[in-house]
Symmetry: C2
Subunit: 699 residues, 2 copies
């Protein structure tokens, strides 16, 4: 079985190598004129300054938690925690690094043609996408080897891997929350004082907040997203491995290694897929084809992965579970993996319907023509409505995965192998992470490219080429979030199964989480509090931090003579705003990020609650959080594209009353889709990881 | 035990008699001048026309369901269904009837003094409050006697009472949804075209939509609310009785009758409490005292009820559960009842904090000064935040009630009596319904009185007296909704216990709803879809119906010469708008209202789902729905009072940019707090009732 770990390591390394090679290609592209490079360097410096400070804050908290873990659970879980944390942070750092260098090159390429811009942007995005999965796979496989060589006791390896998952989840919460507060505080703050008060156009260099706004796109949409998906990928693989070991009885069984194998081959499929994303000159004339080009890459990656999974399943027969019983056939393993790929496809298509230029976006646009209030009502309604289909799709997938795994067979051991079937489905779903992140990442890169084009006063033609790319980016960003939160629902299910089994193993008796037990209901309710409390804190934090930016921009207009009038040689102090929002995001990020650690600990140790209520809280956080997260991320993207739809000249176009109402909707959607909503995914995972870590102490 | 049924019947009759007597007093008050009476008569006619049509639509659906119930479950459940339906409808009708007659008299009384206005308004409100509980108690006790005399088999009585609950819940959904769509479509539609387009002041008689708007307050806030609370009260008592019979083994046990006893004495306590709500002249000078006066009545009713509960508990010892074991002592019954009263008090205080003129309202007001977007972000954040404390309070109450009922005692039968402890807590909580509804109902009455004063061109003094009463009304309306949905969470728990036991009894073996079973998780997810789907449909329906009003008012301005200019003798065709919104509300109400019937049926009968998934769906709907409902109803009230806070002259006052933003927030809050949010309470109950009804068919 070591062979498979090596395959995973090699595939991960190939992914990293591909990313480095592609990054080299991106860096070699034309970086535009001096003015463009100057602006880009401001953005790059700001982003770097932010990440440095964020990582310092996280480091302090990490050291404390490292010591706690070391004293309570021993060295390997503590080391795993650091490995996961650093891995997620590194993924975020690399995502940001590529993005701040690619943006200016996309702006330069857009001066040539739309396909050129698309090419540079997508290559840049694919660096992030593939490096996230490559690093994650290296992290899991490598750390597993390390843990195993340190102590081959399966229990020790189990808790070491949980430590790894916890570290990556926690880093990801900080990255999503900090980055999300940063990007939206800068965006909302700069808009409020710039557009509304001082009547400046978007990205006007006189507005001291604009650089911070552009920095925000990089630290939120790139660094935060990359850290998040690193976490999602890592935790899912770890959860599936652990479940495989529990169900099949040990870490020497094929079920433990199958997730690594699936992840490994899918990276290669994703790399190949990236080469199929290309916009021909003829296609570029109809912007319809942008999404089509992305779909093509995803479809190629998915089909290749499916073919590979067929051979993987043949190569690695699962055999009977611990104690004998239901054997999942190789062909069923294959179908479960296909189910995961189909699930990915369905979530993409559903999200595109709700956020692309179709019925829902047009509906919200139309509602804007009767005012701000009706725009918001329509957006909220669409957001809630957008939860229905994804949840049905997830529910059906759970039943099919469980059924194909033997869950309904009635054969001995079938309920266990059925759960493993769900695990394989979600691993297969997440095996497309590289490709999904690649498709997502190109969005913020083009968004930034558009900003640079504006500030460097390039021709309108350039902006007209980056804008359609950016609009599709709104959809692909929403897709990634829906994908991440959807997979979180499945992964949490697997983690819950692990939680139950861990308790049963330690206590030696069957554990029941029956809904008839009021403790379970209380747990469900408390679990539901987590996403609501967390989302409320995030929204309030954005409001507070945005207020600080408003005050600073106002101060500069007041105190710097000639700034408002745009006299030559007078420059805004961009750095002040960057520092300010950096500090504010840092300050506001800590409490919401620690909420998913503190609440499960409280539930675990408050007398009268304990392990049953904690089990309820795990499920409560995922069920309540899933709906909230989908409603927020999809609804936010719908608002954003409704604004874009009007800006394309519909319903009165830019400057009309409908447009003003649509801007309001977009402002509301900002913290919905970029701060609170996407952060709910790692929040749920942190809750689950904390629960798994405290198991030995709640017996 | 028949004695207790008679006590309940007598107390219910006293309640109805008190209401008739008080209504007589209200009707004898000065009804103002001819103009006021004319306006009031328009409103009354419109409201009557609406209810008549709504009841016709419901009657058609009811006949179909009656036949289905008759053919599947027999005559008594079908008759119970009709009794519950008619009872809830009657409560709504009476609530509306009192309100449309009290409004003009409050306007007349407000010409004299604030305490006079308060007195007439609160007396009017107390008619609705007491009649709701009186009728509900008469319905339950009377129908129980009928069912028992028809067939004393406990199983038959059980399903007859479930039929009763189902009827009242279904009527209540229709009343809440239809009334909610009506009131908010008229409100939003009339505002959009009147205030925004034609620049008319609120309640301007040239706006053809104003009468419909005022009708809406009566059919939504009065008729809808009364039907809802009738349902809440009925279902809770029925659920507690059923559980008492199951746990204690039969309908001849004290536990079966205790809920009726508690309900009966609390009506008397509530009647006495109403006499303590009075505003002295000196208090009237500080508007702070309005809420204080209401609190006084509630406190008196609560304390008297607590004293009475002490003797009730002594008088009716529960004895051991079926099969022997844990006996709940009389003093513990008393404390569980006190817990229910304390819970009522806490929910009132928490809701008041979030919706009264305190921190959260001021925060949203302040956020309005930076624009529409920040107002909405702040309101959404506060709405989400407002879920935290009520849910914690509910969770703690569940644990305490369960514990005092012996749930943690480890003694045989303790888990059953513990559940009964929760049931007593929620019955005691809901025993305050009469007083809570009285406090709520006076709000829409004063709201309407203000509208009549405006249209009849009474002096500003009158409006200045009705306005502070109305602002407190926003808070008390939110309190009632929080109270209803909070009790729904507890009642649903009791109903779930009944569901489990009904299945166990029919199948003869233990039933487990373990979270480790993927079917349960799928059920939770599908259950969560119900509130989101339902709320989205309600929000969309309000948008659609409001659009129809906008078109009609525009048409009248276009086609009726001299209307817009306000030429003497030219009148708007109010009736057209009333008809239009009546028809629209009717049309839009059917699909959302049938959702909570259709989804559980689908879950019950789709292969692969069935009774386990249905159990999960019950809990999923309540957990997800609870958060959504609190966030919507409290958030909506916060927006409304933030607008009122600015209108009091803060942050620039009326006409300022902050005020415009606050109006946007109020518009968004309207369907949140008056359509989707409050209707979630009966929706959850319908889901539960349908599940109980299909039990025999999912075995």
């Amino acid at each position: 079985m070591d062979q498979i770990v090596w395959i995973a390591l090699i595939c991960g390394a190939i992914g990293v190598a591909y990313s480095l090679f592609t990054a080299g290609w991106v860096f070699k592209q034309d970086a535009g004129n001096a003015r463009m490079q100057e602006i880009s360097s401001y953005v790059a410096e700001g982003a770097m300054a932010y990440l440095t400070r964020q990582y310092k804050v996280v480091a302090i908290i990490a050291i404390i938690l490292f010591i706690v873990l070391l004293l309570t659970l021993g060295s390997m879980p503590a080391i795993g925690f650091i490995v996961g944390l650093v891995g997620s942070g590194l993924a975020g750092f690399l995502g940001m690094k590529v993005s701040v260098n690619a943006n200016v090159r996309v702006a330069a390429a857009a001066s040539k043609s739309l396909p050129d811009a698309m090419d540079v942007a997508f290559r840049g995005g694919s660096v992030t996408g593939i490096v996230v999965t490559g690093l994650a796979l290296l992290g899991v496989a490598g750390f597993f080897m390390l843990a195993k060589s340190s102590d081959p006791d399966p229990h020790k390896i189990f808790s070491a891997l949980v430590g790894l998952g916890f570290g990556s989840s926690l880093m990801s919460v900080f990255a999503r929350v900090g980055g999300g507060i940063y990007t939206k505080a800068a965006d909302v703050g700069a808009d409020l004082v710039g557009k509304v008060e001082a009547d400046l156009p978007e990205d006007d260099p006189r507005n001291a907040g604009v650089i911070a706004d552009n920095v925000g796109d990089n630290v939120g949409d790139c660094a935060g997203m990359a850290a998040d998906l690193y976490e999602t990928y890592t935790v899912t693989i770890v959860a599936a491995m652990l479940l495989g070991s529990t169900i099949y009885g040990g870490i020497d069984k094929p079920a433990f290694y199958l997730p690594l194998f699936v992840g490994g081959v899918a990276i290669i499929a994703s790399i190949i897929g990236t080469f199929f994303v290309r916009l021909s000159k003829s296609q570029a004339e109809k912007d319809l084809y942008i999404m089509g080009a992305l779909y093509k890459g995803l479809a190629v990656a998915g089909i290749l992965a499916a073919i590979a999974f067929y051979f993987v399943a043949q190569k690695l027969p699962l055999g009977p579970p611990k104690g004998g019983g239901y054997e999942i056939s190789a062909i069923n393993v294959f179908w479960m993996a296909v189910l995961g790929l189909v699930l990915t496809g369905l979530i993409v298509v559903i999200t595109e319907y709700f956020t692309g230029m179709y019925g829902p976006v047009k509906y919200v646009s139309k509602a804007s023509s009767t005012g701000h209030g009706t725009n918001i009502i329509a957006g909220l309604a669409i957001g809630m409505m957008s939860t229905v289909l994804p949840v049905i799709v997830l529910a059906v997938s759970i039943l099919i995965g469980y059924g194909m795994g033997g869950g309904f067979s009635g054969v001995q051991g079938g309920t266990g192998t059925g759960l493993y079937g769900i695990a394989i489905t979600v691993v297969s779903m997440l095996s497309m992470t590289g490709m999904v992140v690649a498709i997502d990442s190109y969005g913020p890169i083009t968004d930034n490219a558009g900003g640079i084009a504006e500030m460097a006063e390039l021709s309108d033609e350039v902006r007209n080429r980056t804008d359609p790319l950016d609009a599709v980016g709104n959809t692909t960003k929403a897709v990634t979030k829906g994908y991440a939160i959807g997979s979180a629902a499945l992964a949490a299910l697997v983690l819950f199964a692990e939680y139950t089994r861990a308790i049963e193993e330690l206590s030696g008796k069957a554990m029941s989480f029956d809904l008839s037990n009021p403790k379970i209901i209380v747990g469900l309710l408390i679990g539901g509090i987590i996403p609501y409390f967390f989302a409320a804190l995030c929204m309030l934090a954005v409001g507070k931090a945005a207020g600080a930016i408003v005050d600073e921009v106002r101060r500069q207009f007041r105190e710097i003579a000639g700034l408002k009038e745009g006299l030559p040689g007078v420059k805004a102090e961009y750095g002040k705003c960057v520092d300010l929002v950096t500090a504010a995001a840092q300050r506001e990020m800590v409490i919401p990020s620690l909420l998913p650690v503190a609440i499960p600990l409280a539930v675990a140790f408050i007398p009268g609650l304990g392990r049953e209520a904690l089990g309820g809280a795990l499920i409560g956080s995922i069920v309540v959080g899933l709906f909230l997260a989908i409603a927020m991320t999809t609804g936010g993207a719908t608002w954003d594209n409704a604004k874009k739809y009007i800006e394309e000249g519909n319903l009165g176009g830019k400057g009309s009353e409908a447009h003003k109402a649509a801007v309001t909707g977009d402002t509301v959607g900002d913290p919905y889709k970029d701060t609170a909503g996407p952060a709910l995914n790692p929040v749920i995972k942190v809750v689950n990881m904390v629960a798994l870590l405290v198991v030995p102490f709640v017996m």
